[in-house]
Amino acid sequence: MKNPPFHYHRPATLDEALALLAELGDEAKILAGGQSLLPVMALRLGRPEHVIDIGTIDSLKTINTDDGLTIGAMVRHAQAEKSPEVAANAPMVAAALPHVGHRAIRNRGTVVGSIAHADSAAEMPAVCLATDATMTIASTGGTREVAAADFFQGFFTTVIEPNEILTQVQFPAWSPTAGGTVVEISRRHGDYAMCGLAAMVDAPNGVIEKAALSFFAVASTAIRIPEAEAALVGQAPSQESFAEAARIVGETLEPDGDIHATADYRRHIATVLTRRGLAEAAAQIGVPA
């Protein structure tokens, strides 16, 4: 499975990359870490005429903590995984990273690339949704910011236009009274999950003020279950309140079945993961549940 031929561009700056995209539009694909794009090309699922390699653009390689946590488009999973800033300011991102692929994949693949690729079974889009992250999308016309809730449109589909690049993702400042985690069940660790959950509870003074349950691998995009989140608000973090949230998740989710797992099995593990994820999140803020 050799890659099909293409025109290769390696711009030295973001402006140069955007100018190329303005000219080439949907004939071009952005190559960052390549861990999704290159298999897509090898398997002929996509065949771009032009490949624009942003791998050497230094301005996209930064992690900063000016406002929450911002991760640039060329920050590789491994760089984020080793970053104390990520661990301290975006604990759910840190929790997701060990689940992403395998070591060799994380050494090349990028956090933002995973978000732009928008695989419905991937961890990072679900974390963006759970944390209300903001995407910065650039074109020669300027930049726009899009909330995670508006960003993912369907299987491998986002609001990024052909002349645009997702240049960074910003995670809001993490509440000191919140706990958050990512749990999933896959056949082998590192494989795409049959069902996964990014879970967060914020419980100042022992009462849940805010909760997020963001599931992946159960629909065409990551999805939150607002009914179950609402049922948690105002409750104490406890096995009972978590079990009630899990019951609502089981009633609300309508996953598809495939060769990896039937719809019923996916729904079942979603309820198990709800209890498990919430318990892990609560344990982080000192609530044994």
């Binding site: 025109h7 290769y8 060799a104 050494n107 090349r108």
Partner: protein
């Protein structure tokens, strides 16, 4: 790493510079070619094996600037200016095996050995970063490499044997 802008039209080649096992190499490559193909066919080092060619099996794992990477999931042009270590770079030039190769040899970690270069390169990085891993850590770090012969246990045993060999080498070096 700052590199100048490059535009290579369809069908044309791009000159890149790589350091492979300590030797600098200048090669002209078609941008569509994978790093694995260029290592095998242009540089002539066929120890880097290609199994699936889409990032699943791990047989093509090499060290890119010291970090394990899948050589089939990289364009060679993306490796411009990097340092690469392949399986051929492990043993001493006099033929003495690297302690990790010796450990795996002693534990009979190889059967058909098609997957072995990838396992060995992943293990080099694992034991560099974590010289005394637990069995669970070994299994986790090698989870991206597939073997269809051994059932994995002998490979885990080989890594543990290598840990001992490397430990005693360090102790001797300290004397």
């Amino acid at each position: 790493m700052s590199l100048p802008s490059v535009h290579t039209p369809l069908g044309e080649k791009l000159a890149i510079n790589l350091t492979v096992n300590g030797e600098s190499q200048s090669v002209e490559v078609d941008p569509r070619r994978s790093l694995a193909d260029v290592i095998r066919e242009e540089i002539g080092l066929t120890g880097t094996h290609l199994g699936c060619e889409h990032g699943v099996c791990g047989a093509c794992t090499i060290l890119l600037d010291g970090e394990p990477s899948r050589a089939c999931l990289m364009l060679a042009v993306q490796a411009d200016g990097t340092e690469i270590t392949t399986i051929e770079g492990l043993a001493n030039p006099d033929g003495t095996l690297h302690p990790i190769q010796q450990g795996m040899y002693d534990a009979m970690s190889f059967q058909c050995a098609f997957c072995s270069p990838g396992f060995l390169m992943s293990t080099v990085a694992l034991l560099r970063d974590n010289p005394t891993p637990t069995e669970a850590e070994i299994r986790e770090e090698l989870s991206g490499n597939l073997c269809r012969c051994t059932g994995y246990q002998s490979i885990i045993d080989g890594v543990e044997t290598a840990v001992k060999l490397l430990g005693s080498a360090t102790t001797e070096g300290g004397k």
